[in-house]
């Protein structure tokens, strides 16, 4: 069977599985829809959380980014895992004890204020939508390369599947589908990683492989060889950093605190039966996530080494088949600057402008010709970072079924995250905005209908973002974390650990954190991108890391304002006392 057929088969089978689960686990109450009935086993929830968390960005892009920036890529590895420690120790058990349906629910009740609830809904919708657009785009990329359908068709098929299980099944459908999606995606990630690790180092465990000796008789370890090869080509060494320590610190912190403040992750801990289950469940979630996150840096180093070995100083006509495949998708381009028919790879941007624009002609060697002007550097290749994971099985010459598996895994990663995000968007609208604010008189049945409607509308908007991506989507996704760190995290943390924190403090803190971070990002990324260099940044902190400063501002303002204004009422003090002890937690209830 051809790779193409296998891919159709694998992706088709996985879709059939997801839809089957959706029909089997149809939601019949708001409790089913919002928190899967509240009786999910902690390990099952941990697995679902891992799939929810690991998006197209984790599966497709992360190893690729690390591959190109080396040690600086640690910010993603540390930031996106370390946040779970904060989540497990500081938030999840207490929010589970609180036992309602949504994150704005907690903020609204704890700060005894409809305004605080609405501010939280706004933060949540902003964070979640920027995030979901990237997922739909990931589905589109996988479809266009592996199934050779149009990106738009791919997005529509993806939307239809998410629609089926998110709208029908709500949290219940999503939870069990995510378990299946975790199994698909982790298997799809590990199989090629193990093969490539054996191929390069003879060590079947990728986590150990990238510290082992390369089996080419050089006696160098993978990282030593990579450092030497890259220095030779004019890059900086793979294991050395180039970002300043303060910036790495700020970016890592923004990603960590942002992770802990992400609503679609927090809400997963509302689905387990008990407080002690929520603690344990966070541990399982991170363990499942760590399998991929400790493999990713290994894949990153193997892929880079493999890439340099395969393409540098290779005549174009002898380039392997995958090179042409990805050239056809526009994610690789070659411009023969010195007319020798041989591909030279090195440091620096090869093309001007940097993204390739293809003419319809092919050159003397069969390569696709470009409209771009050559730059002064010797590098002749444009290589998109996103292809490193997707192309890796082909680069390593693995059989067709592995390639098909990676396609199914990429789709699983994107769909599972998209569904989780769509659910928190729809429940914050139907529950917080309608039931708790605008239409308090609606019955449970009506609320469930509104929740389904909101999910349907959110799926369509997300799909539109996928088909017509605003130019800034890719950049904005990383900022969702900074915004979550600067707005939601402090309000949640103070709500649990400080009895003095009151409504005035929380609202002013959230607004200042959100507005400060948002303005800084918009200023450097969109209003004055020419100034986006370290000398103009506040204390040398890039827009990616500014959420950390926004968060500190939020804390300072929330604490100061709370001290200067009146204490929270007695009923709120009792609520705080109550969430601090585990006993007496019932499954999430409706009030």
């Amino acid at each position: 069977m051809s790779t193409q057929m296998l891919t159709y088969l694998f992706v088709g089978l996985s879709f059939a599985l997801y839809i089957g689960i959706a029909i089997w686990s149809r939601a019949s109450t708001t409790k089913d829809f919002y928190v899967a009935g509240g009786g999910v086993h902690p390990m099952v929830n941990g697995m679902a959380t891992a799939a929810d968390w690991m998006s197209a960005a984790s599966f497709i892009s992360m190893a690729g980014i690390i591959s190109f920036i080396g040690r600086d890529g640690s910010v993603y590895l540390l930031g996106w895992t370390g946040g779970y420690v904060l989540l497990a120790l500081l938030l999840a058990p207490y929010l589970r004890k609180f036992g309602r349906f949504t994150v704005p629910d907690f903020i609204g009740e704890r700060y005894y204020s409809g305004a605080a609830r609405i501010v939280a809904v706004v933060c949540l919708i902003f964070v979640s939508f920027t995030y979901v657009a990237g997922q739909m785009r990931g589905v589109g990329i996988v479809f266009s390369r592996f199934l050779e359908v149009d990106v738009s068709t791919g997005v529509i098929i993806g939307m239809a599947v998410v629609f089926m299980y998110a709208v029908l099944g709500g949290m219940k459908g999503i939870t069990y589908t995510q378990v299946a999606q975790y199994c698909v995606l982790i298997f799809a990630y590990m199989v090629p990683a193990v093969f490539i690790s054996i191929m390069i180092t003879d060590n079947p465990i990728p986590q150990l492989g990238f510290g082992s000796e390369v089996n080419d008789g050089s006696g160098l370890s993978v990282l030593q060889k990579l450092d030497a090869v890259l220095l030779d080509l004019g890059f900086s060494a793979y294991t050395e950093g180039s970002k300043s320590t303060i910036d790495v610190f700020a970016i890592t912190a923004a990603l960590m605190f942002g992770t802990a403040g992400l609503p679609h992750v927090l809400v997963r801990f509302f689905t387990v039966p008990k407080v002690s289950d929520a603690r344990l469940s966070a541990g399982y979630a991170l363990a499942f996530i760590a399998i991929l996150y400790t493999t990713a840096p290994a894949v990153a180093s193997f892929a880079r080494l493999n890439l340099v070995d395969t393409v540098h100083n290779t005549p174009y006509e002898q380039a392997p088949e995958w090179f042409g495949n990805w050239e056809n998708t526009g994610l690789i381009a070659w411009q023969d600057k010195n007319d020798d028919g041989i591909m030279q790879y090195g440091a620096g941007v090869a093309l001007s402008p940097a993204k390739p624009a293809f003419t319809e002609q092919t050159g003397t060697h069969g390569q696709r010709l470009l409209e771009n002007k050559p730059t002064a550097v010797a590098n002749e290749l444009y290589i998109d970072r996103d292809i490193m994971v997707l192309a890796n099985p082909e680069i390593a010459g693995l059989p067709g079924w592995v390639i098909a598996l990676v396609a199914a895994g990429g789709v699983a990663a994107a769909l599972s995250t998209a569904a989780g995000l769509l659910l928190v968007i729809s429940s914050s609208i139907s529950h917080d905005l309608l039931k708790k604010t605008l239409l308090p008189k609606i019955t449970e049945k009506q609320e469930l209908l509104y929740a389904r409607l909101a999910a349907a509308v959110a799926v369509c908007i997300a799909g539109l973002f996928g088909i017509y991506p605003p130019a800034f989507v890719a950049q904005v996704v990383a900022f969702a974390f900074g915004l979550a760190a600067a707005s939601l995290f402090p309000a949640l943390l103070l709500g649990i650990f400080s009895k003095r924190a009151n409504k005035e403090g929380a609202i002013s803190g959230m607004l200042v954190g959100l507005i400060f971070t948002f303005t800084y990002i918009v200023y450097f990324k969109f209003a004055a991108p020419e100034l986006n260099t370290a000398e103009f940044w506040l204390w040398g902190i890039s827009p990616e890391g500014i959420g950390t400063i926004g968060m500190i501002l939020n804390f300072v303002i929330a604490i100061t304002v709370s001290r200067l204004t009146s204490k929270p009422p007695q009923s709120v003090l009792e609520l705080v006392d109550n969430i601090r002890i585990p006993s007496g937690a019932k499954a999430a209830t409706h009030h």
């Binding site: 540390l78 420690v85 610190f249 960590m256 002690s276 344990l280 966070a282 541990g283 996150y293 006993s583």
Partner: protein, 91 residues
């Protein structure tokens, strides 16, 4: 003040002191070893890795997983000790 309030206050104090210890470890392995001290640690080597690089891309993640399970296990013990556990609650 009832003895119940007192008990809960002691439980909360014990919780906070456990949090402080675990979060200190969390900070040391990630921001400490993986970022601030990374260049200094790189002079040592572990399983063929520079040590600082290993913490930044592998080691810290393993410690994170361990920290959460240690927390879940220690808190369960505290819950029992102070009689505020959720064992009897219905699932």
């Amino acid at each position: 003040m009832s003895s119940n309030d007192n008990n809960n206050r002691e439980y909360w104090k014990a919780n906070l002191s456990l949090l402080a210890k675990l979060l200190t470890l969390w900070f040391i392995v990630s921001f400490g070893f993986g970022i601030i001290m990374v260049d200094w640690l790189d002079q040592f080597s572990l399983f063929g890795f520079k040590l600082g690089f290993w913490f930044a891309q592998q080691g810290a993640i393993y410690v994170f997983v361990a920290l959460i399970f240690i927390y879940a296990w220690r808190m369960k013990a505290l819950d029992r000790q102070f009689g505020v556990g959720d064992d009897e609650d219905q699932a």
